[in-house]
């Protein structure tokens, strides 16, 4: 069997395992394979109707020995990029980060006089983006997002990365550059004058992911008529359909609407994980 036995381990087509725990499959011949995946730690390539691209995703948790009920859930995405193949379009980000402080005991502290603690049923955190670049086919400008930040309130209070129901105010500063001479055409500044909502769900086995994001409000355009309403919504569904050498291959479908361009774009593609962290629940070593 050798290497070939470990190749093409299709999750959906896996033979009935002779013996398996929750996240490790075992063939009739006794070979083990992965059936749970870590969606947050991977270098992936995506090819789809909107182009070809990739991203590096990192997730980690910061814990505290003296306060076991507190942890920081940290998510980072580095060098995310998608380039259209059939048109001159590009979308990328140098860095995206999300930091959520999960505590079993959410509270607000009023430090005036004797400090008082009032219970609050949510986690807090922030989402930041730096260095986003977008240009669309047929447009003369490139949109450079210098910084975007949102203060988050996560009412799901999940201890894992699998569930997030978050909302909060958003601030951003974008610059529109003329593509040929790279002169500034306009700015868009939102001093927390937007609000966002984010629903994120992952299945326990990491095979499925749903992310819905809605953002809307107004931003100031100094050369474009002052305050303008802007809104965007995006939904992404990712489903791992097979794995090659335990590297997952996923089907990705999504839809995005942006009032700035007044267009709705649907996309479908395939995502291949080139390098990924193994889900710690998976045990591929045979201890028989």
């Amino acid at each position: 069997m050798g290497t070939a036995a470990h190749a093409l381990l299709a999750v959906a087509l896996a033979a009935a395992p002779a013996r398996a725990d929750t996240c490790t499959g075992v063939t009739r011949a006794g070979s083990r394979y992965t059936i749970c995946f870590d969606l947050g730690n991977r270098l992936s390539l995506t090819a789809g109707s909107d182009g070809v691209g990739g991203a590096i995703s990192i997730r980690h948790v910061i814990k505290f020995e003296d306060e076991p009920d507190l942890e920081w859930k940290m998510e980072h995405v580095l060098g995310e990029a998608t380039h259209a193949l059939l048109a001159d379009g590009f979308r990328g980000a140098l860095y995206r980060g999300r930091y959520l402080r999960h505590a079993r005991d959410g509270h607000i502290v009023i430090p005036l006089g004797t400090p008082k603690k009032v219970f609050l049923p949510f986690d807090v955190g922030a989402e930041v983006e730096a260095g986003t670049v977008t240009w669309r086919p047929g447009e003369a400008t490139t949109e450079v997002g210098v910084v975007r930040a949102a203060a988050l309130i996560d009412v799901s209070r999940s201890r894992t990365f699998r569930t997030r129901v978050a909302f909060g105010p958003v601030a951003h500063w974008r610059v529109d550059l003329e593509r040929d001479v790279r002169a500034v055409v306009d700015h868009a500044v939102a001093p927390f004058s937007l609000a966002m909502f984010n629903l994120h769900l992952e299945s326990y086995d990491g095979l499925s992911l749903l992310d819905v994001r809605v953002e809307g409000g107004s931003a100031w355009h100094p050369r474009g008529g002052g305050w303008r309403t802007e809104a965007r919504a995006e939904a992404t569904l990712e489903r791992i359909v097979l794995a090659v050498n335990d590297r997952p291959v996923a089907l990705v479908v999504g839809v995005r609407h942006d009032t700035a361009t007044d267009e709705t774009i649907a996309r479908v593609g395939a995502r291949v994980v080139i390098v990924g962290a193994r889900d710690p629940r998976v045990g591929l070593l045979d201890h028989r």
Binding site: I108, V109, L112, V124, G125, V189, P191, W220
Partner: protein
Amino acid sequence: MRAIATLVAIGIGLPGVATAGPRATRFDGERPMMDPTREVKCVRDLEGKMWRIQCNDAKKVCLYVENEELDVDGRRAKPLERARACPILDESFDRAKYEARGYTMMPGRADAPYGWTRDERGRVFQVNFDLRKRLYLGVAYTPQKLLDRVEDPFQNKRSALDFGLLQFQWYLGGDAPTRHRFKFVEGQVRVEPFSSQVTIAHYDMSNRFLDPLLRITTFFGKPQRHDLHLNLGLWTEAGTLEMRDTPVGPAQLWKHATAQVTFDLWQSARLESFLRLRTGLGLEGARDDVNGYRSAITGASALELDCVLDNAGFHNVKLSIEHEIPRYFVPVQPDGTTKFAQRARAQFLYEAIVLAINDQPLTLKLAAGGEKRNDIPGVPDQWAFVMDAGLRFSLWAPPRTHF
């Protein structure tokens, strides 16, 4: 027998301790907190519930408190957070014996680590914040907005956002104390009139040299020695971008890199606060519709005060007075003959913590600033002033280092 004796002794010795059930009135008044530097012991009562006890031999007082957090009804709900390990006594705690020696038994609160405290239910929360270690997002408004448009005070004109995606400091003690300060992606954007400034990376360093540069001895009366220290450091920035709109078009200033020497006139004990002079050179490029693109080497000097006013880190003051002289490689407008320009800037910032959400502080920011410059066509060469009042939400902000 020893265990039974312990239970009996505690049950007798701690009035109300062995009483089970809700006690809604027991939270009235402020309980004293246990001293985190003194020994604390754990004992069980007649019902097997664990109590923390700490006795102060000097004050003849013993504090006792439940070893768990309490719910709103006073029932034990969950283990104490950020609590010290508590050795469980295997011998009796004899209250009668302590009272005979003049001790008073009082309900108290369990101790908490430095920078934290507990409420009456034993819930821990942070009361000391280091605003130099944080990610912050802020929004500010100028009072002028209200004066201009009293009929519409919620109009968002003249608002601003500020941000610092990561800043932290690193202190090295020892014979030559040094503090390293890092800031990444920090800036501010004003809406109307539009202006913006962002710095990708900042690093500066303060030193304290124990050996003085000069020792001056005076012989007026009793001979006395006076030391003159030269506490030199380093100040650098890379990737600063300033953008603003002017009547003659947009202007951009790229400060590619700046390096300066700092001279600390005053330093706090651990170099967190300082008053310093700095001076040095930078390489920059500017672009506007009148001059096009031009590069310059810029000499810059500044006087800076950065001060934490209280030990809890609630009140913070920053003051800076800066002067910059860009020397362009080609003559620039308005007269087309000079290669020099001038920029002067003064800024004051007061930031105070008003509350904390899940131990993440929300601060009030009051700022004032003035600027006078002649390097941007269309901007009058005169002082312009602005004031801000705003809020900042910070993440991380751990307790300040205990010393």
